[in-house]
Every structure is written in C-alpha cells, then in structure tokens.
C-alpha cells in the first residue's frame, strides 16, 4: 500500500466515524447494505476509468455507454425474448467493440482521447434515446427470471452481489495493474510513451487494450445498473457517471498525466465518494448540495496532498542540514 492510500484510508475512516457519531443510522444494516451496493455499482466503472487514465487518456462516454447498453440489454430480453445469457454476451461483446473503436481512433488515427470519447458521449446517448423513441425501456421480469435477478441484485450472506463483483474485479485489476507485465507496460506507456516504444513495447496495442478493458468493465456495470433500476430512461440514466469515475480515480492518486495510481486508491476513492453521498442524506444537508460537497472534498483532498508532500520535503531538508552540522567531520563523505 502506498503512503497516499493510507492517507486516503484514514480520511475514509474519519469521515465515516463523524457521520456515524452524528447520525448512528449510518451503521444500521440497511444503510450499510445500501451504501455498499452503491459502492459496488459505482466502483465497477471507476476501475474502468482508472485503466484509461493510467495511460494518460480519458474516457468520457462511460455514462452514455451505460445508458445505451442498458437499453440494449433490457430490450433484447423484454421485447425480443432473447435468453438472458445471450443478451449478456451481446452487451459485453458490444462493449468490447466500442472499446476497440475508441482505441483504434486514438492510436491509428491519432485523435485525442478527450475528443474521441466526448463524441462517444454524445453519440451513444443520442442513439439510446432514438432507439427508445425517448421513452423508457423497462421490464418487469425480475419475477420472471429469478436466476438473472438473483445474480445481479441478489445478496449472499447479506452482501449485495454488486459488492462481490466489485471486489472480484478490484482484486483482478490490482493484480493486473501492479503485478503483471501488462500492468507495467500500462504504467510505462502512460508515463512516457516514447521511452516505452524505445523499450520495444507495442504502445498502440497497450492503449487499445486499456480502452477495451475499460469498456468491458463498463458493460458489466451497465448490466448491474439496468438490473438495479429495472427500467432505463436513456435521457438521464448514467448521466455524469464518467465524471464520478474520474473523481474516484483522482482521489485515489491517479494523475491525469498518466503513469501513476493504485487500484487500492480508486477503491478507497469510490468508498469515500459514496460515504459523502450518504452523509448528505443522513445529516439532512439539502440534496441539491450533493455535488458541491463532493467537489469541495476532492479539492481539499488534493490540496492537502500537495501541502503534505511539500512539508515532507522540508522535513527531509532540515534533517539533512542538522545531520550535517552535527557530524562536522567531512560533509561530502556523509552525503555520499
């Protein structure tokens, strides 16, 4: 665990403790389960976003993709009677295709990730709204398909399955980013693409893979969201989720310049954002202030991080200086 992660964990615990003290309902099983469920749902696409951000890219179409794929998933089952495993496969395949498309546009046509995914944000949202004629794709098959319902909205030993999925993907993502050759390549490409090429890394392939991983996880997330809401209203479903993911990644120590960040950090970032959301509800703060609270905390967090780093640097400097005046013998030798 990085020092940064520990700081963030302390912040999560502190905020959680404050909320729990002010309003003990925070620790009620129902509230905890609900919050955990939201952490799972939002966590999936936040990890997705992190994989793109680490390559110094950005994915802005996550919310729109969640809406579009949600519509497709619901419609395949409700209107066409497609068996749900097939519908699930189709949705995940579509997600991968979108990821490949974004990666191709970015690496082969050399478009900027911001531009490509901004266009994606507009296009997928528009297609989803057109597809449903701006209506709502909804269904009632929770009762008709108990297996599907159980898998995506059920609980095991009181733990929502979204949380379990999040945990599984988070662990896999941790290994992938921090322990594999591919993860090392991701960090390398994000930190210095030119040096990565000089090291024989196929930088284009790495970047395409990052977008594919991102979209695949977004696809999984889209199914969870569709099952959670049971109806998808494409004009509002998943709005701003990409910004949510970016916020969680930045809180978790990912630099938008690429090449830095840890999965532990994103997970903690997601948890913190959901606790803040919960705090707004439980402390009776007007819910219109929701985003303002979130923004303020992120800003304070980033400022604290920068200040803390400057402070540590000063301490190191002072320690070096005093060590020098004590051992007056041969300063150059001490330094070496």
């Amino acid at each position: 665990m990085h020092k940064k992660d520990i700081g963030l964990a302390l912040l999560v615990i502190t905020v959680g403790a404050i909320v729990a003290i002010v309003n003990p309902r925070f620790l009620s099983p129902i509230n905890l389960a609900n919050t955990a469920n939201l952490i799972g749902l939002f966590g999936l696409f936040s990890i997705a976003e992190a994989f793109v951000i680490v390559t110094a890219g950005i994915e802005l179409s996550i919310g729109s993709v969640i809406a579009l794929l949600g519509v497709v998933f619901v419609d395949l089952i409700a209107s066409y009677g497609v068996p749900w495993p097939v519908a699930l496969s189709v949705v995940l395949a579509l997600a991968v295709v979108i990821g490949l498309l974004h990666g191709w546009l970015i690496t082969r046509l050399r478009l900027q990730p911001f531009v490509v995914t901004l266009c994606g944000l507009l296009i997928y949202r528009g297609v989803a709204r057109f597809y449903t004629k701006d209506g709502t794709a909804g269904f009632t098959f929770g009762a008709d398909m108990p297996t599907l319902d159980y898998l995506f909205v059920g609980r095991t030993a009181g733990v929502p399955h979204s949380v379990i999925a999040f945990a599984v993907f988070a662990v896999a993502a941790w290994f992938l980013l921090h322990r594999t050759v591919f993860g090392r390549h991701l960090l390398a490409v994000g930190k210095n693409e030119e040096a990565a090429r000089y090291s024989g890394i196929d930088t284009r392939r790495v970047i395409v893979c990052a977008y594919v991983i991102c979209m695949f996880l977004t696809g999984v997330s889209a199914v969870f969201f569709a099952m959670y809401t049971k109806s998808v209203q494409p004009s509002s479903h998943g709005n701003f989720y990409e910004l949510y993911g970016i916020a969680a990644a930045v809180l978790g120590g990912f630099s938008l310049r690429g090449g830095e960040g840890s999965i532990v950090g994103v997970v903690l970032g997601v948890v913190l954002l959901q606790i803040l959301q919960n705090l707004v509800n439980l402390l009776g703060i007007p819910s219109s202030l929701n985003f303002a609270v979130m923004g303020t905390v992120i800003l304070l967090g980033v400022i604290a991080d920068v200040q803390f780093r400057a402070y540590r640097e000063r301490v190191r400097q002072a320690a070096a200086r005093s060590a020098l005046t004590v051992g007056l013998g041969d300063p150059a030798k001490d330094a070496a």
């Binding site: 290994f175 322990r179 594999t180 050759v181 591919f182 993860g183 090392r184 390549h185 960090l187 390398a188 930190k191 210095n192 030119e194 040096a195 990565a196 090429r197 000089y198 090291s199 024989g200 890394i201 196929d202 090449g259 830095e260 640097e313 190191r316 400097q317 320690a319 070096a320 200086r321 020098l324 300063p331 150059a332 001490d334 330094a335 070496a336």
Partner: protein, 501 residues
C-alpha cells in the same frame, strides 16, 4: 541602474554552500570573475556546476556564503536582481516556445508595445532583434517561426535571448552540445567579441578542447568543492582532466583492433522519410565498433530509428545474420538482437519517475516474469547484477532514475539492453552531457561488447570520440553514406571532407 550597465562587472562568490537532503551540492565554493574575462568552469556531472550557476541566476538560495557584485553584498539573489545586474543565462536545455516567432521568443516578457491598447509592435520587435542575430551570424530572421529552427539554430536563439538584455555577465551552460563544428567556431568568435567589449563570460562545458581555445582561466569543481584553477598558459587537456577527477585517467582509446567477424547487420537500399531519395548500404561485422559521423541532420538518427523498427522504411531491407528483419516493429528488431541507446535519454531512454530497477528490466520483463506476472525478487536480482557490472553509483535500486547523475542515467539505459544478449548495439550520441569518468566507462563497455563479438554502431558528433573509439568510421551526408574510413585513415579532415560532400 543604467549607469552601471556599461561598466564591466566585478563578481565574487564567496564560500557558497548549498545542502540537499542526503547530499551537499556545494561546499564553501568560491569563484571570481571580471568583465573582459572568459572563465571556463569544468567538473564532472554532479560536481556542482549547475547548482552554482543557479545560485547566480537566483533560482536557488544558498544556505551559506555571499555574492558580491561591484562591491555590493548579497546573501541571495532573486532572478530579477540577477537580471538587473546584467547576468544572463544560456541554459543547456532548450525551451523555445514553438508557437512564436524568433523575435517573440527573444523578447518574451519584454515585448515592445504600442498604442493605447498596448498591442504588440511586431515591427519594432523585429528591428530590435535584427542586429543581435546579425552579430551572431544567424541564418534565420526575426520573423522565422521557432518551430522551423534546427537544434543548432535554437541554441543560437537562446544566446540571442541572453544578449538582448544589456549583458555584463554571460553564463553559457554546455552551449555547444548540439552545434556543428562551424557553428561552434562561430560561437567561439562571438564569445571573444563579447569579451573584447568588456563582458564577462562564464563557460561550462565537457568539451575540453573548446575550453582550451577560448578560456582565459579555468576553474575546476569536484564533489561540490573548489578543485583548483588554471591560468591561461597552463590550460591543457591533461591538467583539466586532473582537475576534474583528481587523478590521471588512462586514455580511453583502447585502440580496438579490427577483429572482424562475420557480417551481423546488413542494410540494403534503405530509404528513410528524412531523405526519400537517398539509399543506404551498410554492413557491420561482429566485434567491430563502427562510428557513424556526419553533420547534424545528415540522417544518422533516422537511419538508426529505421533499423530499430521505430520508423518504417520507405524501401530497402535490414538483415541480421542473413535473416530479414520485419520492418517497422521494435519488438521484431529486439527479437533479432538489435538494441538502441537513444540520443535523448530523458525523453526516449528513461522513465524518470520510475525506479532504477523498473527502468532496467523494462524491455526484458519476460525474463523476470512467469505467466505474465512480474517476479519482483528476480527483477531486483537482475537489476542488482547490472548495478555492480556497470558500477552504477547508487545504494538503492528503488530510487527514481531521474535522481541519478547524467552518467549514471546513461548506464541505466545501457543496462536495459545488456540483459537481452544483443548482437547489434546502436548508440546514438552515447556520451553527450556525461562526465569524463562516466565517458571512459561507456567506452570501456563498448570495447567489452565488441570483444564478445557484438557489433556496435556508434553515432557521434564528437570527433575526438569517433576517431578514438571506432574501428571503422562511416560518414553520412544528406541521407547517404558518403564514405567508409579504415582505422589507419582516420583524421578529422578526412571525416569532415566526407561529411560536407
């Protein structure tokens, strides 16, 4: 302040000390300089030259010591004060704003305005800059876009920037590292002219021959301390080397005997995008060090990039041991046993924020991983082996590579490739900006590789290096190899003759 403007400066640094965590950058260093004098400042990387210059420029506050300018004492200087006393810098790293023209770059922050709205007076700016460029003998005009300038022209632009304030002390930090011979000579005459006008010039360089031609006095730094001074008539190469490293070093020229084995690399009819009409034919044998000389822009780096698969060739083939290497893929080139130590180690060779060990194993991750998972213990052991083999001076492999000195950074780049059992090593300007000691180690390593039967291709603009190290020298001009010189025919004149063909 203007009354001082035309007076020659008298500047003394007294007992300047600067401490960083874990290192004393400067330990009671003193240095004096007067108008009308050229002082060469020499020392190995990490000796404290740059830190001392930053103290002068106001970028660093010294922990102890005094700066005395014309009798006025300062504990520290702000950048504005430094500028106010006519102290101007030409930095080693070039940072032009490529979206502006030459005049805009030179007068950045001091733009000439006109009218009520304070709009830029383009005409006046160009008129102001013109005579400076004229004096420098620049081949570009004030309205040329900075993006169109070559590396050498950009260096001149930096110098013009320094001259555009009424300079009394000009500090040049490695100004010739990317200049060709003629451009260097022109710069030397500019320095002499400035000196005759009463300007003090402080000249930092690793190229000792330049110091010898232009300096009136040489000041040496070693490990952050004064190492001694040499007066004009005592300046020679050996004395300067002694000053820098505190002992004699044996000549690096190992006189590598032409021990030619079979052909390792064969390049046939290769054309690069830089010179679409020029074809390159080249063969390098096992165990030889082929120096590739030529003027900057002759197409040497482009040739290296194409052989290494970074750029696809327009035509032609690259063969390793008789097998054709699939073009345009670095991975294929590496598989064929080719490796490249790039010209710009900061942007192309290293991940400065990554640890030393991560940098060393980057192209070689497969060797330290199992089923795609990196084995961090094996990674450390491999890196540790290279640290001792290349005597990289650090006791912690998890330090960021960017914290190392230039010479040690270059060794890390070399270490990246040594683990791959390369058959052809291409080095592009391998000793640019690294100190004498590290240079000798790099040469030694090249000789060692050649002795093991590796073919070495060394691109270099340093004549002394090309002649001293190579077994054979190829000379490029405008994308073509204009000649190959055997060791016994090597001379500066012969190379230059081919380079301008």
């Amino acid at each position: 302040m203007d009354h001082r403007r035309n007076m020659p400066i008298t500047l003394d640094l007294l007992g300047i000390t600067k401490i960083y965590p874990g290192a004393v950058a400067l330990d009671a260093v003193s240095l004096g300089i007067k108008g009308g004098e050229v002082v060469g400042l020499i020392g190995e990387n990490g000796a404290g030259k740059s830190t001392l210059m930053k103290v002068l420029g106001g970028a660093i506050r010294p922990d102890k010591g005094e700066i005395v300018i014309d009798g006025q004492r300062f504990a520290e200087l702000s950048p504005a004060q430094a500028l106010g006393h006519g102290i101007a810098f030409v930095h080693q790293e070039l940072n032009p704003l490529t979206n502006l023209d030459v005049a805009g770059n030179i007068l950045l922050g001091r733009e000439i305005r006109k009218g009520v709205f304070g709009l830029l007076d383009q005409g006046a700016m160009e008129r102001h800059v013109h005579p400076i460029l004229e004096m420098l003998g620049a081949r570009f005009s004030p309205s040329t876009a900075a993006s169109e300038l070559s590396l050498a022209d950009l260096q001149l632009l930096e110098i013009a920037k320094a001259l555009s304030i009424s300079v009394r002390l000009l500090i040049l930090d490695e100004p010739t590292s990317s200049l060709t011979l003629t451009e260097t000579q022109r710069l030397m005459s500019v320095i002499r002219k400035l000196r005759d006008d009463g300007v003090a010039v402080l000249f930092i360089t690793h190229r000792l021959s330049e110091v010898k031609t232009v300096a009136d006095r040489v000041v040496g730094l070693r490990d952050g301390k004064n190492a001694g001074e040499l007066q004009r008539d005592m300046i020679d190469r050996d004395a300067m080397v002694r000053l820098m490293i505190g002992r004699d070093i044996k000549q690096f020229h190992e006189g590598a005997a032409a021990r030619e084995g079979q052909v390792v690399l064969r390049v046939k009819g290769l054309r690069t995008a830089a010179y679409p009409s020029a074809e390159v034919e080249l063969a390098i044998h096992a165990g030889e060090i082929l120096g590739l000389a030529g003027l900057i822009g002759a197409g040497r780096t482009e040739l290296a990039r194409t052989i290494f698969g970074l750029d696809p060739p327009l035509a032609g083939t690259v063969e390793m041991n008789g097998d054709r290497v699939p073009p345009g893929s670095v991975a294929e080139a590496i598989k064929a046993g080719i490796c490249l130590v790039p010209e710009d180690r900061k942007s192309e060779g290293l991940f400065l924020d990554f640890s030393i060990s991560e940098n060393m194993v980057m192209p070689n991750l497969d060797a330290v991983s199992r089923r795609g998972f990196v084995d961090r213990r094996r990674e450390y052991l491999l890196a540790d082996r290279f640290r001792s083999r290349l005597s990289i001076k650090t006791h912690r492999l998890d330090r960021a590579a960017g914290e190392l000195s230039g010479g040690n950074q270059q060794k890390v780049v070399l270490a990246k490739w040594l683990g791959m059992a390369p058959r052809l090593v291409i080095l592009d300007e391998p000793t640019r900006g690294i100190d004498v000691g590290a240079k000798a180690e790099v040469y030694h390593l090249m000789g060692e590789l050649a002795a093991q039967g590796v073919a070495v291709l060394m691109i270099s603009s340093d004549m002394e290096e090309v002649i001293g190290v190579s077994t054979r020298v190829g000379v490029m001009s405008r994308g073509r190899i204009t000649g190959l010189l055997e060791r016994q025919d090597l001379s500066e004149e012969a190379i230059l003759h081919l380079a301008v063909e």
